[in-house]
Structure formats: C-alpha cells, structure tokens
Symmetry: C4
C-alpha cells in the first residue's frame, strides 16, 4: 500500500452511500427479474386448457426467476457480511465494488436467456458462466478489502462464503457439459461448501 | 434455538441494511406494477371514440394496478410493523425474509396476468393463490421473529395483522370458485379481521 | 382526533422508513419514465435521413419525459418539505401517503400515453387529470398532517406549495379544452402561484 | 447571494433525503440498462450455431451496457465526492441537482439507441452528446455548490473530476466525426485528465 487513502470529511457518510448504492442495485436487479416473465393473453372465452398450457409454457421462466432470486439473494448476503467488516471508507473500494455490481445488474438478462431457452446447452453455459464471473468478482472484492485492512481477522468467514459461491458456480459450469438441463443444481451445493470450509478454518 | 446467533461488529448496520433492502424491494415491486399496463397508440386523426374505447379496454389493467398497489402497500405495512420489534440483527432472519420478498417481487406478474384476463377463473385463482402464499410466508416470518425473541410481547398486534391478511387472501381464493370476477373483494375484509382479532386479544 | 396514535418502540425508525419508502417510489417512478421511450432500430446502411426522422418521431416522447420528470420532481419537493415537519411517526399517515404514492407511481403510464399521442384531446385531458388528482391527494396529505399536529405553524409554506401545484394542474386541465397541444403550460405557472400565495401569507 | 437559504427544522434529514434520492436515481438508471438488451428466443432444437449467432448480434448491446455502466458509475462517483462537501441543506441545490439527475435518468435510452445501431454516425453522436450534456450539468452543479459555500476549499478535486468527465465526453463527441464506431474511447481518457488536472492544482 503505497498510496494514501483519500480520506474525506464525510467519511462515514461516504461508506454509507457506497453500501446504500450497492444495496439498491441488488434490490433493483432482484426485483426486475419478474419483468422478464412474459404475460400470456388468453382467449376471451373461458378456456381452462389454454390457461394450463400457458402456465406450462411459463414453467421454465418461473424456475429461472426463483433460481436467480435465490442466487442474487445469496450474493447480496455475501456482500452484506463483507461490508460489515469495512469500517472506514476507502475510494479504492469503488471500482472493484462497481464491477461486482455490474455482474449483478447483468443477471436479469442471463436469467431471461435461461428461462426462454431452458435445457439448451448454450444458454445454460452462458448463465452458469455469468454466475462464475460474478462469484470471481465477489472474491476479488474480498481480496481488495483484506489488502486495504490487513488487521481484519474476521474476514475468514466472508472469504469462505465467497469461495463457496465460486465453487458452486464452478460446479454448475462443469455440469453444463454433462447435463445442461440440471446444471444449476451445482449452486445447491453452496451450503455444503460453506460448512466444509468453515470446519477447515476452525481446525 | 440451539445455534448461537452470529452477531457481528456491525450489528446495527446489518439490521438497517436488511430493513432497507426489504423496503427497496417493496418500493420497486409496487412501482413496477405500472409497466404492465400497455400504452395504446391511437390513430393520428382526432378520434375521441377510439380513445374512450382504448380506456375501456384498459379498465381491467387499471383495476389490477390499483388493487395490487393497495395489497403490496398492506403487506409492506405488516412488514414495517413487524420489523419495529426486531432490535438485534440475527442472520437466521435472512432466508425467511428473502422468501417473503420473493413472493412480493412476483406480484407484478400475477397482477399483469389478472389485468390481461380479468374475470377468468384461472388467472383469478392464480392471483389469489399468490396473495395467499405471500400471506403465509409473512406469517412464517412473524413466527420466526417470535421464536428468535420470545420475550417480545407486543408482537400480538403484528401476528394479528398477518393473520388478517391470510384470512382475506384465503377468502378471496375460496370466492374464486363461486365468482372469479368478484373474488378480490375477499381482500377488502382485511380491516374487519384486524378489528375482530384485535378485540379477541384485548379480552 | 379520538383515537390514540399507536406509538411503537421504533418510532424514529418507523418515520424514517416511511420517508425512505416514499422517496424510493418517487425515485423509481421518475427513472422508469425513460423506459416508455421506444428505441428505434435503424437500417444497417448509414442513413442520416432515417435517423433524423426517427428522432423527429420521438420528439413528443422526449417532451413528455422531460415534462413528467420536472413534474414528479416538483411533487417530490413538496413531499420532502412536508415530511420535514413531521417529527413523530403516526400510523394514520400511512394510507393518505400510500394513495399519494399510488398517483405518483401511475405517472409513467400517463406520460407514455401523452408522449405516444401528443396533441390529442383525450390523452392530454387524461394526463392533466392525473396531475390534478395527484395534486389533490398531496393537498389531502398536507391536511392530514395539519390535523394530526395542529401546533405545526410552519406548514403554511408547504400548504401553499401543494395549493400551487393544484392550481397549476387545474389550469392545465382547463386549457385542455381550449388547446390540448399546449395545455401543459398550465404547470409552468406553479412558481407564479407559489410567489403569489407566499406573499398573501406574509401580510 | 441575495436570498436567504430557507433553513428548516429537519435540515440534516433534508440533505440526507436529497443525497438518498439522487443515489436511488443513479442506482435505478444503472440497473435499468440491462432491460434494453433484447432476449433472443432460440429454436427448440439444440442448435449451437443459432445461439452463437444470437450472441454475436447482441455484442453491440453488451458493449453499450458495459460502457454506460462504467460511465454512470463514474458520474455517480463525481456526485458522491461532491456531496461529501455539502454540509448544510440548501433548497437552491434542488433544481440543479434535479436537472443533473434528469440527464442520468435519460442514459438508458441513449444506451439502447447506441446498442441497437452501433457504428452509425447519428446514434453515436446522440450518445456522446448525452454524455457531454450530463457532464456539463454536473459541472454546473459543482459551480452552484461553490457559489453557495465559497469557503469550501477542498472542492478543487471534485471540480477537476467534473472537468475531466467533460473533457472525455467532449473528445468522444469530436471523435464521432472521425470514426463513430470508436468514438467512445474518448471517455477512456478521463483518468488521464484527472491526473493532469490534479497535478496542475498541486503546483
């Protein structure tokens, strides 16, 4: 660390704004997911079969919505836990955080691509790679925070969280080559990785 | 409660962020409702009849917008009142809260489905079931908060609020089988349930 | 005022959340306006004439965007000034505030309707009536706050602000019957009304 | 400065709300960018060639998304640094700030226009002019803050930031006349200008 942090008068407010801005981007991205589900217009005549069929056509979109909601929720929790450890505002956090947010803000597109073409190799790979890149950028943010404040000893848990998401997203990416339709279950292994890595830390 | 809460240094900020994130999702979901109303393009020539007809075609969408705005507003107030009783941040609130938010974020879709196909059995049932599931998830959140902090005695009011929304949504769901076009008036009984349940508590 | 206000432990946080939620709805509504401007797809070949024509077709949408941005900004400032005078949270403010927000959240639709059909009587009347209803709901909110806290003497300025918006919107509505294409200039008289009414107060 | 600032009881809260509202508009605008990327619907049959081609068609939209994300991020940082220096709320900041936000909120449209017609002169000029106007409005906001509080000596850095964005946007605008497809690299010179101008200040 050769450069001095550019501390400003409004340091506390600055950190709060950074956190707030990030939270807002997470909240907007997670709520925009629903706009990508196309609303069916049914025939005017009462026709239950048409409605059931329309719902069946939408099942992939519902699945993609639910999955991405949980995934963004998980990413947000990692960010939440991480920022708890940042006590002083440092402008050098800005860009790593912004790149992470860019990946989050891109999720509604990947989600819609997955939901519109569920079970296909290309869109599944694209979706899982989006997750992997997001997880990597999250891991970089953890590293940046550790570098700026090396005394922070409690960051182990957050680093494990970020590593677990990376492992889950990596597994999903690998699974795409075997079974694209089921590759997203890689993300379901995240709680397992968290527990495993956490045990390693305690030893 | 066998597990210890993972209290962190930034406990107060953590709770604030959780509340903030929830508020943002509510605010975005409630404001996105309007995007589901299709904007009519009228003929260039002045033609009042065409405009009046276009407005008449939009009446179901206007109705669905207004109804869901009030419903999400009601859900937000329940959440608002509930979170007032949470004084310390507990990470175990995260996922129950996230599932509740997922149901809220899904509302714009159900609303658009209802508005595009008003009076039909299928979409009305789908909409009312969305409300019922959201109300149930809200009730579960109340229960979770009660479990984490059993000394909280003022939660009775909030539990009643959540129960009332559940009763209203349940009544709407039942009414769908009788008269889908008017089933949403079940939600209008919520203030009645609140008053009734509140009276029971005072006795 | 026969009912007691339901003061809660988290009174200060409650008020903050109410203000925050309102701000978020204003911010989202004002930023969603841009989504209603349709993006033209030009021919691949370089064709400046096609681009200029596309821009000319969009002029009404640009106008509606700018107008509604300023109008929602004006409404937000009124709300901002108003809430400065609310010092204790009162749940009875909830619904009047929610109805006001509903009118604000509806603005993107009215704006898109105006932008897609500029100069037509019907859409202009619809837009101006939306403004008038919003202004009326804002005035009701002022009255509600005055009723809940009658000692508040500084509310005169805010009441004048709300009255001025109402006068401007009313004038626009009347002008629609004379010249729909130019009726929105009624809103431009708001600063004039503010000055006039303010002078009356000082006397 | 002949007029007295209209200081109100809730001065600190007022400033906080202004900052919050601005942050929210930035966060929403930056997250809405993704909605302008059209989601391709691929043929049901596994067809990797179709997917690769669809991605290639989307490349301009991806580029425009990434570029505008970074640009809005940059604008937000300028605003962030600027508002750190505002310690007391002054209503006269309202409208200059609102105009700046209007330009920010317009960015998703310019971005979509650029992404849908990349390499064409007209849309590139339109996009770069949007940046230039936004930068100018940002510079005006800096000037307004300086005028309201002339003792603020640390504003030099923020003025330089705003000037650098203006120089970058101006260069991009000029480059449009030479090579529209590559004109956006003008924005990439911003860090250079910041460094140059900063050196000038220190001398």
């Amino acid at each position: 660390m050769t450069k001095q942090p550019h501390t400003s008068a409004g340091g506390a407010l600055s950190l709060e704004r950074l956190v707030f801005f990030s939270d807002a981007v997470f909240a907007i991205a997670i709520t925009l997911l629903v706009l990508e589900i196309e609303v069916p217009h049914l025939p005017r005549v009462q026709d239950s079969a048409a409605f059931v069929e329309a719902l069946r056509d939408l099942t992939p979109s519902f699945f993609a919505f639910g999955l991405s909601f949980l995934v963004i929720g998980r990413f947000w929790m990692t960010h939440h836990g991480l920022m708890d450890h940042v006590t002083t505002y440092d402008p050098r956090l800005m860009w790593p955080n912004m790149l992470y947010l860019m990946a989050i803000a891109f999720m509604p597109f990947s989600t819609a691509l997955l939901g519109s073409n569920l079970g296909q190799f290309g869109p599944a790979l694209f979706y899982n790679l989006t997750l992997l890149v997001t997880a990597l950028l999250g891991r970089l943010l953890v590293r940046k925070i550790e570098a700026l404040d090396p005394t922070s000893e409690t960051l182990g848990r957050e680093a494990n969280g970020a590593n677990s998401v990376m492992l889950g997203a990596g597994l999903s990416t690998l699974l795409t080559f075997v079974a694209p339709a089921f590759s997203q279950i890689g993300m379901a292994t995240i709680p397992l990785w968290i527990r495993l890595l956490q045990r390693g830390v305690r030893k």
